[in-house]
């Protein structure tokens, strides 16, 4: 019960506490303690120092251990920088949003942990929907027209999408009619063990519904629009949280159904759908990188691209599968770095338009250089992690039964890299219009320390390649029946 309290109940209590405590600093302190406890325990669980025992509907396996660690890592850093972020001046209208900020963050942590730890499709659904509900008010933090529209679209699209996923879950129950899992409904493990008994027609239908429904939340094309709008208009810490952890939670649902479908005859069908979705996502990122003129939107499209790559790796299997799991880790860390630095730029220039941002390196050298490094990290330039995971994914695709997919992806990625580079270097080097006189040098803030630490972490994981992480990922691959 102790672990369950730390993962889910304490965050909920902290949310209640944040409602009662009016002072922002106290709210921040409480949230930080909860985040630290969460991070510590999930690290302990991941390292195997602690064997958690969960109540019914919850369980821990290799996959949930890893995803829980990704979540608490992202969450901890986001909470840590949130207070300095909230102290920044905003429009008077937006002051009201601050009161609920930490409450919603805590609620988000509780619901997201519940979604990751659930071992029952019904529980997963309820918790995943709760994550949407906790994030939606945060998107409307700035209280302006754009964020209002983004909130409405995200809420609506994701609610409809997740309703689709519910239909998929019901169809999954239908596929188990007259077999063993019918007795104890909708537990992941039972389905995985009896996967071959399931009715293939309903299983395929279920896969389509769950995949399409959750892809609104993952941000897989063609359902990505709500997600892109939301991430680009939310405040930077929230955007980092969404890109770094929320999308992955939704991905977990798709991975669960993939795990069920793998030993059955419908696997080929599911793979083709995933590959099409993945290629479409990379294609969408490729197209929009040509005309995007808002740098946070650019980062959101980069998320669409990278989730597409992860999905591609999962679908192709083999070495690409291992690469995809590594990619989820690296991508989530890099996205936090990118959004936090982009948030700094937004604060100074008061605009998200690329045209209004010039000579960042001159005006804010620290953020500027970190932004360059983050750009290198996301583009897969060594020594940052994404380089290693992408190599694995590409090698896996090359030696799979569909090597031509690699050519298509490489072509798209090349242009995405060129266009992102063009935009970012224009922001960094382009001469300003001169109206900004050079201000006092940029102060070194907590924000920068977090970003530097995360960049070091990103490189360290990739280079040191800890044995425990490798073994855990091999366990996941084993659960999915992936053979190298």
């Amino acid at each position: 019960m102790f672990e369950f309290s730390i993962f889910i109940i304490y965050p909920l209590l902290a949310a209640g506490f944040c409602y009662l405590a009016k002072d922002l600093r106290i709210q921040f302190g409480a949230s930080l303690v909860i985040a630290l406890l969460h991070l510590g325990l999930s690290l302990f669980v991941f390292l195997g120092f602690y064997q958690p025992h969960m109540p019914t509907y919850f369980a821990v396996d290799s996959l949930s251990k890893l995803f829980l660690l990704i979540l608490s890592n992202v969450y901890f850093w986001v909470v840590l920088v949130s207070y300095s972020y909230l102290k920044r001046p905003v429009m008077p209208k937006a002051e009201g949003g601050k009161k609920l900020y930490f409450l919603l963050l805590n609620f988000y942590l509780a619901s997201n942990s519940a979604a990751i730890l659930s071992n029952h499709f019904g529980m997963y659904w309820v918790a995943a929907e709760a994550t949407t509900l906790s994030v939606v008010p945060l998107i409307y933090f700035y209280r302006n027209e754009e964020s209002l529209e983004a909130m409405w679209k995200y809420l609506f699209l994701v609610s409809v999408g997740i309703a689709f996923a519910f239909i998929g879950i019901l169809l999954l129950a239908l596929s188990a009619k007259e077999t063993v899992p019918e007795e104890k409904q909708l537990f992941f493990q039972l389905f995985i063990r009896n996967a071959t008994l399931l009715n293939p027609i309903w299983l395929k239908a279920s896969f389509i519904f769950i995949f399409v429904g959750l892809s609104t939340k993952i941000g897989i094309a063609p359902m990505h629009s709500g997600d892109v709008d939301a991430t680009s208009n939310a405040p930077s810490p929230v955007a980092a949280l969404m890109s770094g952890s929320l999308r992955i939670t939704a991905l977990l649902g798709v991975m669960r159904i993939l795990q069920i479908i793998r030993p059955t005859s419908s696997y080929e069908f599911a793979r083709v759908i995933l590959i099409v979705g993945a290629l479409l996502s990379v294609f969408v990122a490729f197209v929009f990188m040509f005309k995007v003129n808002n740098y946070k939107r650019m980062l959101a499209y980069s998320s669409v691209e990278h989730l597409g790559i992860i999905l591609l790796g999962l679908a192709v299997g083999g070495l690409a599968f291992i690469g995809a799991i590594y990619h989820t880790i690296y991508n989530s860390i890099t996205k936090v770095v990118l959004f936090l630095t982009a948030g700094n730029i937004h604060r100074t220039y008061k605009s998200r338009e690329v045209d209004r941002v010039a000579s960042v390196l001159d005006r804010m050298p620290k953020t500027g250089w970190l932004f360059v490094l983050a750009f290198f990290a996301i583009s897969g330039i060594p020594p940052f992690g994404i380089f290693f995971s992408e190599i694995k994914i590409f090698e896996g695709i090359l030696f799979s039964d569909k090597p031509y997919v690699l050519a298509i992806v490489m072509f798209f990625l090349l242009f995405i890299f060129i266009n992102m580079g063009k935009i970012i270097f224009a922001m960094l080097y382009k001469e300003g219009t001169g109206q900004h006189s050079r201000e006092e040098t940029e102060r070194f803030e907590l924000n920068h320390i977090v970003v530097i630490f995360l960049l070091i972490l990103l490189t360290a994981i990739a280079i040191a390649s800890p044995d425990i992480l490798y073994r855990n990922i091999m366990n996941i691959a084993n659960d999915f029946g992936v053979r190298l």
Binding site: Y57, H120, G122, M123, W125, V126, E129, A130, L133, V136, P137, Y140, E145, E146, L148, E149, A150, M151, W152, K153, L155, F156, S159, V160, A163, F166, I167, L170, L171, A173, L174, K177, E178, E182, Q185, L186, N199, I201, W202, D229, S232, N233, F288, K291, V292, R297
Partner: protein, 210 residues
């Protein structure tokens, strides 16, 4: 009995397609909620259990009183014009819906040969899901999008009674709570939208584009 209620449910869908009044949607939501509650109450006619009554009672409260009442309140507060402006002619919409329902019923009949399932509740639920999506596509007012979403949710509920023997109670309550909070947030968002944009139609939401 399930079949009779499902057919009634389908009729309520036809009404929602032809009505030109916003209030009509609220009435249909109430009626559908009532049908679903009665559907869940049927087993208690044979053997009553105090524990099992929680779900139908919650359903009654949420789907018949809270949600339609809340939507009604939004309509009155925002003074939304009572007539709807469709983007598609009523008669062609009706024909489209009839054609869709025929396809769904035939398809479920064919599918029922391979798996044991109750065709009529299954097909009615699925029709409601599709019609809910149609309403979101073909209506301009955002409040009707919310109604379309709820009709879809009702469809899913009916569908689930046809498909799964029983979801665990905790999960079922969680689902109801989630739906309620979604509608609540949508209501708040609608209030803000009408304040900010001086209107509540889809055309007001076209700022975010690439």
């Amino acid at each position: 009995m399930e079949n009779v209620l499902s057919i009634l449910f389908c009729l309520s869908l036809f009404y929602v397609v032809v009505t030109t009044r916003v209030k009509g949607y609220v009435t249909v939501l109430r009626v559908q909620g009532l049908i679903l509650t009665v559907l869940l109450m049927i087993p208690f006619y044979y053997h009553f259990s105090f524990y099992g009554i929680i779900i139908p009672v919650t359903l009654l409260l949420v789907k018949v009183f809270f949600i339609p009442g809340y939507i009604n309140k939004i309509i009155i507060d925002l003074d939304i014009k009572r007539r709807i402006e469709p983007t598609i002619q009523q008669i062609s919409f009706l024909l489209l819906v009839i054609a869709t329902m025929v396809v769904i019923f035939l398809a479920s009949h064919i599918l029922s040969r391979s798996t044991g399932l109750d065709v009529i509740p299954f097909a009615s639920g699925f029709s409601a899901i599709v019609i809910g999506i149609f309403i979101m596509m073909f209506r301009k007012k955002l409040i009707l999008h919310v109604a379309g979403f709820l009709i879809m949710e009702n469809g899913i509920f009916l569908f689930s009674t046809a498909v799964a023997s029983e979801l665990p109670m905790m999960i079922e309550l969680g689902v109801l709570l989630d739906v309620f909070v979604v509608v609540f947030l949508m209501g708040i968002a609608l209030n803000r939208i009408s304040d900010t944009f001086k209107g509540f139609e889809v055309r007001h939401l076209e700022r975010l584009k690439d």
